[in-house]
Point group: C2
Chain length 85, copies 2
């Protein structure tokens, strides 16, 4: 049994308005950072998972994303797995 580290990003889909990101884009101007545009804000989730292989770990993380971590109607997710040393 190996332990893998998963780093998951859950972001609002492109078609979906992101009011928090819009508000932060506006605040950037007030901070003198008008070069910053198109801010979008989502979640970053890190977790550890015990599995025999990377394929099993990947399937389990995918299941966790689909069933709990992301709302697939409004959000999309990506993740990377690394072996914990």
């Amino acid at each position: 049994m190996k332990t893998f580290l998963a780093e998951i990003d859950v972001m609002p889909k492109k078609e979906i308005l992101d009011p928090q990101g819009k508000a932060v884009t506006g605040s950037m101007k007030n901070l003198g950072l008008a070069e910053i545009q198109n801010v979008r804000i989502g979640k970053h989730i890190s977790l550890e998972i015990d599995a025999d292989s990377e394929a099993t770990a990947s399937a389990k993380v995918d299941e966790a994303c689909k069933n709990l971590l992301a709302n697939l109607i409004m959000e999309s997710y990506t993740f990377t797995l690394t072996l914990k040393s």
Copy 2:
């Protein structure tokens, strides 16, 4: 002037209790995913920045993280920059 894409992760510091992550770790058991442990939840922010060089872009993103995106008392941040094609 080039446009860079920044991908920023803002996570609660290790010493800080993450109640949302703890709750999700508990929920994983109820979903039959007891192999998943140590869930920690933070923010993922993507943005675009116009700058002459990667070094300038990096300094501006760092400033944005310090002044607006992260609370350095409770959170730490990391980011990557890529040139927008």
